[in-house]
Symmetry: C2
Subunit: 658 residues, 2 copies
């Protein structure tokens, strides 16, 4: 079975890549920006829509508040960017939020951030891929309704690509990301020009009036209005996800690493803010109307829309208005947006397994995940991430608006913890620093991180209040479960380490007095003779062969064969009142232990090595059961003597190519 799976894996995933190929890519800023930017920039594809459709619940007049909400998001965005520039300088090792929280706030905080980040990576894939699927259906309307299927296929392909490992990732990423930036910013410029010259048209959805939700007949007023405004802001805050990516990647920058990373981060912040501002301005200027449920909330001439109306995202409505639907620039904008969303998913495929291996290194995940799997990509992490994202996509039918409700809460938990950790960090630095200029710099950094902490903590509270019921509870529950799992794994490893630590009692020189070898015999065949030869070659103090009498005829046959070979080792026949193999052997071994407890007992078991999975079913089952039972006996060692059947050769060839 394993061999089949391994062969399949080899075909799909390709050959492993050597360790030393890893480090040769140090990135200049112009390549680093697109690599790390896709996640942060891509949110402009859905964040404006979420702001607009949340406000639309209170009717057309409320939509006019969108620039205000956008402004608030931009302020938070730039504050967070400023804060993370401090992180980059303080932790050039690229530890990221997990390391900062772990080092400065303790392991509980670290584990909380880790859980939040793991959940958020999954959501990044789910949200970005679902949004990408929406953009694809915008370009090819006949695919409408199939978003979940498209997103599923997309995640699967991305997972396979990542299992194979990506070569020369830099340039592949750079070009489309720059095209995306250029197309969005260029569209904004054209839009502003058209507006200035009075040529800017109205969006197709401008003609619709919006039916306010119950309770919002008078627009955005009262407590409900304020709450809705906060909800719109929370959804818009999705624009901030991915900002922290650069702080994880500092070691990949060209020198001076920290300075280059900080500059890139600033660039990223400015570009992201400009794009968000541009889209929100154009949406407002062209009167793009976006609602949760077009069939219920939109009216045209006082009547519901004709059936079959498909609402497209703000970016494509704007491109439609400015360039005309079906024009080449329109398709460039939509395609670039879709591609950048796929890239954003891909950053999660890079980040998730790295974080997983760091957590495994710290003992929070099984040890075998600690080292990179073959092909330099951590296959297990990629598979876990893809599985999680697929569950979410299918559970929420690739509905971006619903998935957004789960998102962000994790991002802001790690933002807040990371900023709090930075405040502690600077406090410690300040105690050590003597030089005035240094102290001034530290105090300035600390002030920025304090602002960042205040801002992100406030947003976290807003997000929790406005989104808990909407779905954030699911993300929080997932984080809690991850926290518990990782915590128990660590506790288990700690207990085992304590139990197994070498102490005074464990002298490496104390040896068992004598070695007592026992050879298990069923039929007298080549594997038994090999096991016998191996057992004798080890020159034990005493060597016994035993066979269990299940069928008296067969036992006689075995005894006769044994005698015929004139083997100078006695064959003991064990009675089996239950006609069963394992218990008589266990009783025999236990008696032996009782008689001479300081001896080492070595049980030699001949085993068949087979080539096909079903052959395993018809061989070795009894050997396996005996081995499992023997493992529970202290002072007993099991020596498996394999006999390679001819059919195993093919399987071996497969194993060796790994």
């Amino acid at each position: 079975m394993l061999t089949i799976l391994n062969a399949a894996k080899r075909v799909v995933v390709g050959r492993p890549v050597r360790n030393d190929r890893l480090s040769h890519t140090l990135l200049p800023k112009r390549i680093a920006l697109p690599i790390f930017a896709s996640d942060a920039l891509s949110s402009v594809a859905y964040a404006p829509d979420e702001i607009l459709l949340t406000l639309a619940l209170a009717g057309v007049s409320a939509v006019a508040f969108s620039p205000l909400v956008g402004l608030a998001v931009m302020v938070v965005l730039l504050t967070v960017v400023a804060s993370y520039r401090q992180n980059v300088h303080a932790y050039p090792s690229g530890g990221g939020d997990y390391e900062i929280a772990n080092v400065n706030l303790g392991k509980y905080a670290g584990l909380t951030v880790a859980s939040a980040l793991l959940v958020d990576y999954v959501l990044t894939v789910a949200v970005s891929m679902s949004s990408a699927a929406t953009y694809l259906t915008t370009a090819i309307p006949s695919l409408h309704g199939q978003q979940a299927l498209i997103a599923t296929i997309g995640v699967t392909i991305l997972a396979l690509v990542n299992l194979r490992g990506i070569k020369e990732a830099g340039t592949v990423f750079a070009v489309p990301t720059y095209i995306f930036m250029a197309s969005i910013l260029g569209m904004t410029a054209v839009g502003i020009f058209q507006a200035a010259t009075g040529q800017l048209g109205e969006a197709p959805s401008a003609q619709f009036t919006i039916v306010p939700a119950p309770g919002f007949d008078e627009g955005l007023v009262g407590l409900a209005g304020a709450f809705l405004l906060l909800r719109a802001f929370s959804s818009g805050a999705a624009a901030l996800t991915g900002v922290e990516a650069i702080s994880n990647g500092v070691p990949n920058f060209k020198k001076p690493k920290s300075k280059n990373a900080a500059t890139t981060l600033l660039l990223l912040g400015v570009i992201a803010a400009s794009m968000l501002a541009g889209i929100l301005y154009l949406a407002n200027a062209t009167k793009v109307h976006i609602v949760l449920d077009p069939a219920r909330e939109f009216l045209m001439d006082g009547k519901p829309l004709p059936e079959g109306y498909i609402q497209t995202p703000a970016i494509s409505q704007i491109a439609d208005t400015i360039f005309g639907a079906g024009s080449i620039p329109f398709y460039i904008v939509v395609a670039a947006t879709g591609i950048i969303l796929v890239f954003a998913s891909n950053t999660a495929f890079n980040g998730f397994p790295v974080l997983g291996s760091i957590l495994a290194q710290d003992g929070y995940l099984p040890r075998q995940l600690r080292t990179r799997g073959d092909r330099l990509a951590f296959s297990n992490g990629v598979l876990a991430l893809a599985a999680g994202a697929l569950v979410l996509i299918l559970a929420f039918n690739a509905d971006v608006t619903k998935l957004i409700q789960l998102y962000i809460v994790g991002v802001f938990i790690s933002f807040t913890a990371s900023q709090l950790g930075m405040i502690r960090h600077w406090g410690r630095e300040l105690k050590l620093a003597k030089d005035k200029a240094v102290r001034r710099r530290i105090i300035k950094s600390r002030t920025i991180n304090m602002m960042g902490f205040g801002m992100t903590a406030l947003v976290l509270v807003i997000v929790l209040i406005t989104k808990f019921e909407q779905g954030a509870w699911i993300a929080l529950l997932a984080m809690f479960i991850l926290f518990l799992i990782m915590w128990s794994i660590r506790a288990h490893y700690d207990n085992v380490a304590k139990e197994l630590a070498v102490d005074e009692d464990s002298s490496p020189r104390a040896l068992p007095t004598r070695v007592h070898a026992v050879l298990l015999v069923s039929h007298v065949r080549k594997p038994v003779l090999r096991a016998l030869a191996y057992a004798r070659a080890s020159r034990p103090s005493r060597l016994d062969a035993v066979t269990v009498d299940i069928n008296s005829e067969e036992t006689e046959h075995t005894v006769r064969d044994w005698e015929k070979l004139e083997i100078p080792v006695p064959l003991t026949v064990l009675a089996s009142p239950y006609r069963e193999t394992v218990t008589p052997i266990m009783d025999y071994i236990k008696n032996m232990r009782r008689d001479s407890p300081r001896d080492l007992i070595v049980v030699y078991i001949p085993e068949y090595v087979v080539g096909k999975w079903w052959e395993q079913l018809v061989h070795n089952q009894t050997a396996l059961r005996i081995k499992t039972r023997l493992h529970f006996e202290p002072g007993v060692m099991v020596a498996s003597v394999p006999w390679q059947l001819k059919s195993s050769e093919e399987a071996k060839a497969l194993q060796d190519t790994q």
Copy 2:
């Protein structure tokens, strides 16, 4: 995981039973009859119904042919009984049809019979339990429509009961079986008396007229009519299933075994024939009408029946007519019939695992099934049988009429093969016999078996012709697949035996020149020290410790710890360009093999023995992969040195109670 499953198994299944408890039950005829009779007698619960409803396809007039069909079935039944009386005398070992076919006709015929019998055991359970469920709904009409669920529950309970093993089965079986015989034969007597005195009423369904199926408007005429008659006969032949049971059970009879068994068989045949005759007579006399689909085929006063009409089996309609619905005798008849059907299923639960272990003994099934499992019941066989029956019940929604189409073909394959085998057997005996009286007896027996063969072969052909399309092909396909599986298992075992047979080359005295021990080290902890002590105790010619350098920091730590202990064994650090554990170790071992191919290499692997299944996931994964790979290397032996973690103690306690 295993420990949990084992504990659960213990709770459900109870403690194992000793070998020597098996043989103390030698049966007198009065106990043997009910034990072996339930399968054969129970078919009277559904065979008459199948005859009636098949004939009803040609309208009311055709139903009058049912006594004729019944007579034909009875002739076959008594012929088969006479034939099997010869089997019982010839094979007092109770080999059954498989042994007779195997010995006299060769292994292909034997395996064919075995496949047919295995499939038929499954069908016995499915048919009997489905019919029992129907009788339960007859007694409790509110359960109507739930037959599949009831049959599923019944099979599950029966499987559990058999997994626990049945004590004192004899008397438990005897009483209800005698009650069943008494109630059916008693009802027949009362019915005949009522008919003689003119008091016999009409069945509730007597008033219905039957709409003939298309093409049968003129009743049972022409080729189609003849074919329908044969189909009715084929279905009625279900009454013969279970007749062979006694021939498998000869060793369980009191002495003189063969004579007692033959007498019991004759008794069984006479009783079964009388009951079948009685039911068919009464069904005719009370004008019981049974059809496939009451809603479509029945008319009352020229109109379809009102909705909700529930057709009950012939036996309950007769009991209703003679004793009155709801009377105590009515309930006794229905309940006794239902119970006998459950007993019939149970005989399959006894027979199937026995046949399975005989087949495993002959190498047609995996070896580990060869010996009886614990609790003297062969757990694996019981589980396989229950699973097969459940699949059939659910696939056919516990519809007895549909299941009957699959039945019988297997029975008659084994009847026919067995009779042919007996003819061969007597032929051989005749050659050896000199004494005239003996020769006369042999010729007489052979004549009877010849008649049996002719009869059963004819029925087999009829069954194949009339039922192939109706569902017998499914049973044949299943037999064919079983045949292929068992054949390949045997071929595999034969090949392995040939490959592994001790020949001139395999001298038991040739020993490897030197023993080269390799100890795998990850961290320097107690398990490694134990493995080291064991390795040194075995005094190898050379002992090396190796560790793989995945993380340089950890490796340094390990090397330091090793040096600190001043262990007189060098620790080799293996480089790992792929940051992976298995390949460097394999390369190291392969190099070693190349340098000194005649040495034995013993790889010592410290292993953690854990208590909980999830602990297994976070430990030993790498050890497992290394072991698997090492098994493909000839000249390499793997020595597992277990270290029992504290958590393993509970699991050990569980293992030890097994």
